[in-house]
């Protein structure tokens, strides 16, 4: 795995963890491309025994000048979606800037809602 790829996965992992830490985020939701990446990561782990971070739902592109990221989230309906989205944006931007040392341009996409949240 190249150094760039490792750096990209590290940045995506930081972004994913930051997004998941925000109250109201049920999960990150990959699209088809992200799902295929997730399967590939699981195959890598099975084959090599080495863990790959779960970054499905996060797309990160590192350039020399900045880091671009798109995060797809599912939000629970008992939280205010705009507030959750803004907090995810800020948390992911901070995590990426801290990890890469570059300014981050973050897009948050709410692709679903959990309509009947389970209180545990």
């Amino acid at each position: 795995m190249s150094t760039d790829a490792v750096a990209q996965i590290g940045a995506a992992d930081a972004a994913a963890q930051a997004a998941r830490s925000v109250a109201g985020v049920v999960r990150l939701q990959p699209g088809l491309k992200g799902l295929i990446k997730q399967f590939a990561a699981q195959a890598w782990t099975r084959t090599t025994g080495r863990d790959v971070p779960d970054i499905a739902g996060v797309d990160v592109a590192l350039t020399e000048l900045q880091v671009d990221a798109e995060v797809r989230i599912v939000v629970t309906i008992d939280h205010h979606a705009a507030d959750v989205g803004r907090k995810v944006h800020d948390a992911v931007a901070a995590a990426l800037e801290n990890t890469t040392g570059r300014p981050a341009v973050v897009r948050v996409r709410i692709v679903g809602f959990e309509l009947e949240p389970r209180y545990t």
Partner: protein, 188 residues
């Protein structure tokens, strides 16, 4: 304000348009609805798209049926991912200042149908949403009403629930909401 269901021309940017003016995403929605439209049954372009989608579903089923040990819930994960991709065809920005946060209109429609379904005697069918200025939307919802459930009052309650859900749960304002009653049912 009366509002007709928005035509597909209003929000097809970035989608997969068909020569008839609809999109592949519309066909997908139509197939998922309880009652596919007459257009879908007669339009050759939509029927071609339908055939393609059905082939994709069949291929997915074959993969699932493959004796290879596949992860549990694979089909659900694939279909959820496909929906997530399709849902990003229509999005609307939320009021989050400089932060770029957008919500899928399909996901938003599910929230609004859920809000309507919370009203006794009213069941939401289809829901269409279009932007109406900054952080506001116009909504059209077709509904089925229970006979004798106080229809006008029930629809007013449903209207309030939709406005509250938009403001309280999403962060958007309701500019206009039109209901279209498409069915009436009686309690067995």
């Amino acid at each position: 304000m009366e509002m007709n269901p928005p035509t597909d021309d209003t929000a097809t940017t970035g989608l997969h348009p068909l020569p008839c003016g609809r999109t592949v995403e519309d066909v997908w929605d139509d197939l998922e609805s309880d009652a596919p439209s007459n257009h879908l049954q007669t339009c050759p372009h939509c029927r071609t798209a339908q055939a393609g989608l059905e082939q994709l579903a069949a291929a997915t089923s074959l993969l699932i049926d493959d004796p290879v040990d596949v992860p549990s819930g694979l089909l659900d994960r694939i279909m959820t991912a496909v929906r997530a991709d399709l849902n990003l065809g229509h999005t609307i920005p939320l009021p989050t200042g400089s932060a770029d946060v957008q919500v899928s209109m399909h996901a938003l429609a599910a929230v609004l149908r859920y809000a309507v379904d919370g009203t006794i005697g009213v069941r939401a069918r289809q829901c269409r949403i279009e932007p109406a200025g900054e952080h506001a939307v116009r909504v059209w919802i077709s509904v089925a009403l229970q006979f004798g459930a106080g229809q006008v009052g029930a629809l007013e309650e449903a209207r309030e629930r939709v406005a509250l859900a938009l403001r309280g749960q999403i962060g958007l304002e309701l500019e206009a909401l039109d209901f279209e009653v498409v069915d009436v049912w009686t309690q067995p």
